[in-house]
Symmetry: C2
Subunit: 392 residues, 2 copies
């Protein structure tokens, strides 16, 4: 038998292991230094009370024969799909329940969605990028066209009419750059996709960080997007679900390719290779969308957003160019004095004991840039910025 030869084309990404090794080395030589971690992409606030109550109630139901739940609907329970649909309606997006598929997180769907497309797709991926987009496409034997996200375009590249694409990855607000597309820019992508018979895979995992009321929170706020887009979202960053695992994917009924409904293909894929998300977890997820849940998650989001503002203000004071921070938990800054990413990393670690993420780890256009995250606590964030000012 032959194994999938595409796997041999995957490159190991040593970004986080290199960071971890450098930090370990530093700690060994400097055991008493107080290191502040601002490279972390994980949330730190616990699940809110409304979610905890939803989870507890569901656990109790599972203990009793009358309320026990066995196999559920593979696409998710209606109560959760209705909650998602109501949430989207607030931004003017109308969704039918069978356009919403509940999943165990955006990462699974982001990888698995390629199942339903043929091999040898022409794919557009921005550089710098969340590495999962790249690796999943290599595994599927697709042809990747990197498009440049740079300081010049504010890390928000627009369509290049010379590239004929089948699949387009857009993450907005972006990981790692924090940059967010506006309506006009997204409309350009939607028009390009419709013209080229392409499909946009829109990753909206960070939509809850958008504070600017004029920015779209969903690709489906854009006219004509229902014939060319799939949206993949997650409660990981919205409600601290990184370890609780729940997300959803939206596929409009109008989306067809080769005269085939993409919604029906995904339904077939999920009913064959997936058995739904745990009932308990879906009950916790539904609580996110209740009135008290919304209030409580907004408190955690505000906490992170305050950190982002603290970092952003510090960059402004120092005259450092950056994207993100305002509508994103990420601050993507240009390394001062044209330093390269890893040199800046070493400087921060060794001089002020702050750990961030070198932009070069996310692609060639990340070289010379650096990512700080807002998921720490206020005190550490303030202290890190104070230290930063001492060396810039």
């Amino acid at each position: 038998m032959k194994v999938n030869q595409n796997y041999s084309k995957l490159k190991e990404n040593y970004l986080f292991s290199t960071i971890s090794n450098k930090v370990s080395e530093f700690k060994q030589s400097n055991p008493n230094e107080n290191i502040i971690y601002m490279g972390i992409g994980d949330v730190t606030k616990p699940l809110c009370n409304a979610v905890i109550d939803g989870l507890k109630k569901a656990v109790c139901e599972m203990s009793c024969e009358e309320t026990f739940k066995g196999y559920g609907p593979y696409q998710g329970y209606d109560f959760l799909r209705q909650a998602v649909s109501d949430y989207y309606a607030e931004h003017g997006v109308k969704l039918q329940l069978d356009e919403i598929f509940i999943s165990d997180g955006a990462k699974s769907d982001c990888g698995n969605i390629l199942d339903i497309f043929g091999n040898n797709q022409n794919v557009i991926i921005p550089d710098p990028v969340y590495p999962v987009y790249v690796d999943t496409n290599i595994m599927n034997g697709n042809n990747i066209n990197f498009i440049n996200a740079t300081e010049q375009n504010g890390f928000l590249p627009l369509p290049d009419k010379n590239i004929k694409a089948d699949i387009i990855y857009i993450c907005s607000p972006n990981n790692p750059t924090g940059a967010a597309y506006n309506n006009v820019q997204l409309k350009e992508w939607v028009d390009y996709a419709n013209e080229n018979n392409a499909i946009i895979l829109y990753d909206s995992a960070y939509e809850a960080f958008i504070t600017d009321q004029d920015l779209p929170r969903s690709i489906f706020e854009i006219e004509n997007s229902r014939t060319c887009a799939i949206e993949i979202c997650s409660l990981s960053k919205t409600a601290g679900f990184t370890g609780t695992r729940c997300g959803f994917t939206i596929i409009p009924k109008e989306l067809k390719r080769d005269s085939v409904s993409i919604n029906s293909m995904w339904l077939r894929r999920q009913t064959t290779k997936f058995n739904g998300v745990a009932y308990i977890i879906q009950c916790g997820a539904a609580a996110v969308f209740t009135k008290s849940g919304r209030k409580q998650i907004n408190e955690a989001l505000s906490y992170y957003k305050t950190n982002a503002n603290i970092i952003g203000e510090c960059m402004d004071e120092m005259g450092i160019w950056y994207t993100g921070g305002e509508n994103s938990p990420y601050i993507w800054l240009k390394c001062p004095n044209n330093m390269d990413s890893w040199k800046f990393f070493d400087l921060l670690l060794n001089k002020i004991h702050v750990v961030g993420t070198p932009g070069a780890g996310f692609g060639k256009n990340g070289e010379g840039f650096f990512r700080l995250t807002a998921f720490g606590n206020h005190e550490d964030t303030i202290e890190a910025m104070k230290r930063l000012k001492t060396i810039i």
Copy 2:
């Protein structure tokens, strides 16, 4: 863009929708009849107290910043992998923790595992069969060789040396037939796989129903299996996790093809397209393997096994040929008087108001056979058998 053309080759399986339509029709004409459902493949007993306590404790941990869990290890927490490893050690199977991958259920892994093999694999699938094996292989463009499970071989087919296979599906105890391979028979498959450079995908989802001490509960009890087998297991039937979603896949380090470690390929697949199982669910799953958890799940298993015995004894009394029942929640019986599957279905529904599953729905060799399940309650099971005796 082109969609995956293999999806157009999938056939709709109307088995369960046809059953459901027939039952609805009957109910409309006979609103007062007490129907007994013995077609159900889902558990009915609630989660045991040990699991409920494990889940509750984990929910509490998620409510507190000090004990909150964000992203966990993609392959599962060590505490759960250790519990699985200890469980296997009881049957003499030694596993390293990094040979165990925790998943959201056997169905996901069963479908996703094909990612790491190339297309155009030569696959052996027994007929009758759990339809997911067939559909996932059609989606991947593999070439399926059905091998005959029949009354003559006790629905336990052995290797045909004339077929050169890459992948072999074995489910034991089997769904739908309830038949279970013994050590000698499994050894034949292991030797065949090693000789042919093939990989056995061993579905052990029903291993907890094995009562016969001489039957293997894992493929890894068989000599030389570590160079040719992957085992996919689930807590769905073992501990009532059909709606709680947790399973695991075991890939030995020795398993290589094309000089590539299959364990490493699966690790790469899972770290790229999966983000692990919810911490809360893993805590519930770990409780299954504790002393009190084991005692409690055995009570539910005994309850189902008693039902299986009731059905089996009734078949013996009536002289009806069947497989399963002893080491399985399924009884696979030969329809009396050479009736075909659907005719027998109609007879049971209309005359005695019992719903089962026609064997023909699982493949051509299922014609003339019928599946009853032990997941109901005692009273209904006894009543159904009483009714059955009145018409046979």
